[in-house]
Symmetry: D2
């Protein structure tokens, strides 16, 4: 999490201050549940809440230097501030009850902030899809011109992918909205499932089905995989923008703000740097998945190896994907589209993209597919090497004319027909949840 | 996919023979849909089906050496075998219509074979959970004795994780049960959404929302992530078995078959090699995730870079996870459990695990938590270093006796009380879907 | 290792037959060393060698089904074939002495086969570098035209990278050309360092400095990292080819063989499929690194988790990189280069790439850099948007003319000057070892 | 790079202040080289140096918000502070000349700080190796007791691995001690190889053989691979410490400082948390390798996707490995070793580890290996299941006595003999560079 790629709400979310505040939230929710269960004197939590204590992260870290144990340091500090009632906090609990439940709280909040941004990204795509549903452009496979599509269809593909990403993010949120208040090894030795359910319920969390000392880490690995998938989808869009913005293609480009400089050496350059940046950041978000998976096989009722990993990847991956979504949304919103360049590129191959239509027409006339393929390829290759236009070559090839009449050839060259299903496709992406 | 780690049904599933048969299935389903739509003469598919042709993978590969294009080679071969009607196959379709739809078919079949094995693994865990729900053992955090659990609770944790894995596998199956018959760039230029829906429906697949030339690869990345998560969960179980089987622990061990040799040099050795093998294989299955994610950002309407990756990771990852599930199921079914060793280890720390109960009792009596912690730690550390038993140390410590009566100390040392919630925990894992 | 991407010498290298033959080599070399040390009767190895036994992999695997131990099965089979003298094989050795030393042998052989291919790839690059050292093309950063380079310089960059890859491969070969014949836990309990050095020396291997039961696995992780780096370099070249071959760029393309078909639907397509394939395969080779790193932390004197990983990644990664080098060498050798298209693209931005020269000239005349930048950007942006040619815009801008005379402006537009250091650069890459 | 795992010298090294200072270093070195080449007025750099300017990172970032270009913002700020002479900075250079050369400077410095720590870790291992070269312990494969080793031999294995890590780090330092001052696309259009060599030489860097706009990124990927390998080696040591510290093993443990608390719930616990932490951090350091490899295939003369990745992984991976080495060195230095526990564990299997010696003795007496194996296994398995001691079982087995005399059996049970090569092994690790 470096300032350059961290939205300010994520700096705040992953600060020590917020972290310790979340710990206190969990302790107080657990305390209240214990009060209701009669384990702790009524009013304990209220007494602490009413003091409105201000936790001091630095003080906690100072104490930790002696105890070498962060939760004990935290509790010591809470006692310093809240006095006698604080003694009843953490009764029968283990550190991980606090750490894992509060980690779930923070991940849930991070996810909700990611979701809002994802919604904006999706909305931006929807707008542009609607705008360009009928803007023709050449479809390319292998970077080579294939057949026509529309820019709206292309964006609709990204839209559908983003929506799948949203569904996965939602499922991942369910996976990690899980805490535990089950004691040292998950057996509720000094607690009970009822207290846990009560406390976590107040925090908006569900209890782990079977906890060890910790919540199971396959949940978190699944979560980071969902973020990585989201990032990979954005990388796909950004890669396409980079292609569109190439000088030779020029079909769309990132908005260039006034004052922006493309190069310290070349004043004329307008580089797709936001898109390239998104491609790089996708690598970073994806890189959280493997360590998260390596975290799963904790020994016995837990070891603490996962902790250092999560202290780094949880802020990094969540803040970075949030940053990416902000940037990707702006990218889509501001994308400058050049329909005339799309048209120019469409024309570049001289209607070669209608070759399949011609071939199919010959097959319909009873010619074997391979023969049709060869006939079409002959005219196509000539055109490709600058010898005549494709349509004209066909119309002057006796072998072709033996199969198709000139007007039948012409009928194959119909853009409107080729794109007649575009609305159906686009609408499918728009109506998806 | 090496024979050593490939179940025979996966060798068959990923053979060229099965692969080409799946292509033909897709072609025929598409042909029939086109017949119903009036694009192809009625009875075409039936005529081909009735010839009961035997595709010859070697012949196809020979043709491919000339064409450098596998689907064209395949179609040429089908024409060789089925004659004239075959000319109507593949009308208006692109290679990826066949490749991606048949890949979906194969992945779905692979997934169903994985599911059956996962069910067996889950059933094995359920049986052993029931058997050992009340077998006490020491819970360990950081490899250090903590508080008692039962072996059934530990296995219930693995059971709950496996069930989460099953839910994820099911979701992943949904993601990849998607084909496309939408033509060169996904626009149905010579087809229609209706034909696609008809053909895919017959194959048990849904149409891609918006396809490019291919089905979107975020689906496959999500799929491989689900397999990697499953593998990581098995690794956790296998790691625990390895710990249990250590000479010094000896709480459970892999079944050792008659004739099996542990070591070429040391006849007495009985090594947890199945578990170690599972840990290694988990690394291999997880390793498919990153390349699958790198496959997502295909250029424009597609490039073919994903293809080579999938030719390797799809057989490897699916066969290996299937092999792992077989082996993990056998491991759990055959696991030799030593409750008496668990008891011996429980006794090893001389009831130190009741320290928290004592501490909490002091807090209930009104002592500050830190003070209670220190008092308990004093007796605990003495016992830990061989100076007296923990309970006796407490009972002879004047500072402790100033707070707790001897019988109150004794009441803290109650195993049954510590494990009173075990059934609730175990049942939670058993009832989960 | 699938047939499609496996050179035939690698199929043979990683076959069970070769594997068991390598085991026998190690056993015999060890036996001979023990003979010289007086531990085993003289002539034992010779007696076995003279029988010229044919190991039967299937028979070994049948025996293994009972013993569940591969090396014991192998030894049993050798005794079946070679009779009494075979009893002296493996004396005081542990399985890993055989497995790890023979694995080193196979990896060394794999590496040497990779090296030969890498040499061919490097030679191909050198030829094309020489051929095109003075073929001008536009250099692109961010996909946007920057300043001129030559095609030879671009290839020289790939050449230098390939040579770094060769140096790393050589270092990695050193790392894994290491065996051990040190007994069960590496202490030579029934052997000696002298016997080990003697036996391994005959096999062209060095002894592990300190072995456990196995050779340390950081060596192998370093090895797979070297392969991954090599693959990443090839991916860079292949990515560039894909760009060059785009319709809109058209500066170079893969050789298209007679009979080859680009698309089952579109006869005119010529796709850079070899390059795309190389990009995919690079993902696969890189994916071996993480599991190899996860193999390092074996428990105590070893666990066997690394074994399954290596059985899969060693053949896969070595065969795939060999295949990639073959393909990359052919790609470079056959690459069809279009200097006239390069020239056309160079012209596309109307000499905008000389903007820096103009800017620097203004700075030399004493103008502040920012001012010069703005002046140049003004003319450049006008040209970029189709309003006049860059040079003309400058020559008609009073602010510019206040600084530079028209002939001074013209002097900045000198391609030869811009490329005057090209030979120096190219030669640096050619002379590197 | 989070404070918890960042040594203070790395916070400083990767601060914006240091970063911009390194940029200025590069600009001034380049300026001086240009002065010597006559391109820039003599004394320019000196004039700037003499102003002793204090760069203000915040000011630079403010300017960047307008320019969207960091190096232009930096240069603008330098002009603000240094006035007129600053105009001659960056002449003919491109941003990457500054960025990449200064990045090399910072990576070199980071590496040197890592090296010092690695030396300390190595020294710590050497001390403990010497101390415990003759402390016997049981060697374990598969977690199962095998044959005796010494603790010194075990540590010597880690020592040898650390030294290999040092050699790799040194090679990696060579790879990244490379800059470029070659202009926009690496052609020295407004510079010369001589100026570059002069400027970089002053900074202790070599010139890139063939640069594009940037230094080639395979160098950095190789660098991060070297860090990941170092981390994997530390993980292996830390994993072993975790095993040794288990209650049931108890052979060594981390130093427990006064005041340290093992658990908030269980006062008696002493957990190997430093070792577990090292295992987690190793995952993080390794995770930098894949994105670094994905950075290699930049498009054409460069895209900027690598930049965001490096801004995150370079500080993270270097600071974390430095932290790991500090912690690993302390761990080794402070490791509390329990030779008596090692002896107790050695005794646990009742000399079963001499089984191979007995078996070999039988083979020497002419018995087939398989027969010997079975005879030894019989006595071993009885002992393993608590039926008699191994040695006694052998001495009372008529089949055994038919081969070996009782005193010959006894002679096989000789610890000194088993460990006679220990000094040779240990010395090998100590003398390695």
């Amino acid at each position: 999490m470096i300032p350059r790629y961290t939205p300010s709400d994520f700096s705040e979310l992953w600060s020590s201050r917020t972290r310790y505040a979340a710990w206190l939230e969990v302790e107080l929710a657990a305390c209240e549940a214990m009060e209701r269960a009669g384990l702790v004197p009524n009013g304990t939590a209220l007494a602490i809440r009413s003091r409105d204590i201000k936790l001091d992260p630095e003080r906690i870290e100072t104490i930790e230097q002696t105890t070498k144990h962060d939760v004990i340091a935290f509790l010591t500090h809470v006692e310093e501030l809240a006095g006698e009632p604080a003694r009843f906090l953490h009764m029968g609990m283990t550190s991980s009850d606090v750490l894992d439940s509060s980690f779930a709280l923070l991940l849930v909040r991070a996810t909700d902030r990611i979701s809002v941004r994802l919604d904006r990204y999706i909305a931006a795509l929807e707008t542009r899809v609607r705008e360009h549903r009928h803007t023709p452009m050449i479809g390319r496979s292998h970077g080579i011109h294939a057949e026509p599509v529309t820019f709206g269809v292309v964006l609709a593909g990204h839209l559908a992918e983003a929506k799948r990403g949203r569904a996965r993010l939602f499922a991942a949120r369910q996976e990690i909205a899980v805490g535990k208040i089950a004691g040292a090894v998950g057996t509720y030795a000094h607690l009970s499932p009822a207290i846990e359910a009560d406390a976590l319920g107040q925090l908006g969390l569900r209890p782990e089905t079977v906890s060890t000392q910790v919540v199971a880490r396959d949940r978190h690995a699944a979560y980071f995989a969902a973020l990585g998938l989201l990032a990979a989808g954005i990388e796909r869009l950004a890669t396409n923008v980079r292609h569109w913005q190439r000088n030779e293609v020029g079909e769309a480009e990132e908005k260039f703000t006034a004052g922006q400089k493309g190069s310290s050496a070349m004043p004329h350059k307008r580089n797709p740097i936001a898109s390239e940046n998104l491609c790089g950041l996708a690598r970073v978000v994806r890189a959280a998945i493997t360590p998260a998976l390596e975290n799963v096989a904790l020994w016995h009722e837990r070891d603490i190896s996962h902790s250092s990993v999560e202290r780094m990847i949880a802020p990094d991956a969540t803040a970075t994907i949030a940053f990416m979504l902000d940037r990707a949304a702006s990218l889509v919103e501001g994308l400058v589209v050049y329909p005339e360049a799309m048209k120019r590129n469409l024309d570049r191959t001289g209607e070669l993209f209608f070759s399949e239509a011609v071939m199919l027409e010959m097959v319909k006339k009873g010619r074997p597919r391979q023969r049709a393929y060869e006939l079409v390829q002959k005219s196509a290759m000539r055109a490709f090497h600058g010898d005549g236009r494709f349509r004209d070559n066909l119309r002057s090839d006796a072998d072709v004319l033996a199969i198709l009449k000139p007007e039948e050839i012409d009928a194959c060259f119909d853009m409107k027909h080729a794109l007649r299903h575009v609305d159906a496709i686009v609408d499918r992406a728009l109506v998806e949840p």
